[in-house]
């Protein structure tokens, strides 16, 4: 994984627009959030291999980055993205890592299931 470059991500987003795609979207505080700090509220959600199609999408912010994808019926949104798997040619594999290096958010798009 490498720190993402927004222009590169925008190019990738544009390339996948208008197609049926599999999505993995995740936000996680980690299962130990409240064990390590009782004041924290543990919250996580993920959905994997849902099928979406977006007509337009963009990345914004100055880092960590936000992405919004406008789908046929609604929206997909992720905030806090910092890293990309730079070795991927076609799929978009994005993650946000916090100050301790832990994954806190993930957004992945690809033509095949993950």
């Amino acid at each position: 994984m490498q720190p993402l470059q927004p222009q590169d991500i925008q190019t990738r987003i544009d390339r996948l627009a208008g197609q049926e795609l599999y999505i993995h979207l995740e936000l996680t505080s980690g299962a130990y959030a409240s064990h390590l700090d009782a004041t924290r509220h543990p919250a996580s959600a993920f959905i994997t291999n849902a099928v979406i199609r977006y007509s337009q999408g963009s990345i914004s912010g100055a880092g960590p980055y936000r992405i919004g994808l406008k789908t046929v019926q609604g929206w997909v949104y992720a905030e806090g993205l910092t890293h990309v798997d730079e070795t991927e040619q076609e799929r978009i594999i994005l993650a946000g890592h916090d100050s301790l290096g832990k994954l806190i958010v993930a957004l992945q798009l690809g033509r095949e299931p993950f």
Binding site: H35, A95, G101, K102, A106
Partner: protein
């Protein structure tokens, strides 16, 4: 109390995530293996939903399962475990699996291996829902056996205040003689072991390692109908 390996021949360790074996029982398992016992490790998931991806991150959601599979195999080699079973459940989702499916997998292992000892998590006191669900499935499966045929079950628990409910652990293993194996097992999980709450971002001194990892504690599970 420090149990010695005596007439026991096989231990079945059951944990949901690669690296649970390292922190919970690597020293104990290495000690028993040195004493001539065989260990089977049934690991329910590949820890594919883990948040630690290495520092700086070299793994991601897509690559993590294959990486952690290799780390798990390396950890087993470090401990001396020769029989690793990866049960193929999905990380974070163990508590949502059909309980009978989980229990049947454990029952199958108990029938096949006839272990004298089982090591797992104490259901209800092990913080991560996968830990609790795994321990609960093991306890249900062992409870199905006639009391006289049950292996002893050592449970690990680390919920805050768990000792107020289940008391002090009755089994304390001094594993300082096997810290080399245990630390090698921990470090085999390269995506995980740098996490600040585990090893931290600096090299620990030998004394810190001994204090933090030199003792492993377990509760012997008391089955309601066993006397």
């Amino acid at each position: 109390m420090n149990s010695k390996p005596t007439e026991r021949q096989r231990i079945l360790a059951v944990f949901p995530h690669p690296d649970d074996e390292s922190f919970v029982a690597a020293g104990t398992l290495a000690m028993y293996i040195a004493g001539g016992m065989e260990v089977t490790y049934a690991c329910l998931t590949l820890g594919e939903m883990g948040r630690n991806m290495g520092i700086p991150p070299f793994a991601n959601r897509v690559t993590l399962p294959a990486i952690r599979k290799e780390e798990l195999a390396a950890s087993c080699r470090a401990i001396g475990i020769r029989d690793l079973r990866m049960l193929g459940f999905h990380d974070k989702m163990v508590e949502f699996e059909d309980p009978q499916v989980l229990e049947a997998r454990i029952t199958g292992l108990l029938e096949e291996l006839k272990p004298q000892m089982v090591i797992t998590f104490y259901p209800g006191y092990s913080v991560h829902p996968d830990h609790d669900a795994t321990g609960a499935a093991v306890i249900r499966a062992v409870a199905q056996l006639p009391a006289a045929e049950r292996p002893v079950v050592y449970c690990s628990a680390f919920a805050v205040n768990c000792e107020q409910v289940i008391g002090q652990p009755d089994v304390t293993m001094d594993v300082t003689a096997f810290l080399e194996e245990k630390m090698a097992s921990i470090r085999a999980h390269a995506t995980q072991f740098q996490a600040a709450e585990l090893v931290g971002n600096r090299e620990l001194t030998a004394e810190e390692i001994r204090l933090r990892y030199g003792t492993e504690r377990f509760w012997t599970y008391r089955f309601g109908d066993a006397e």
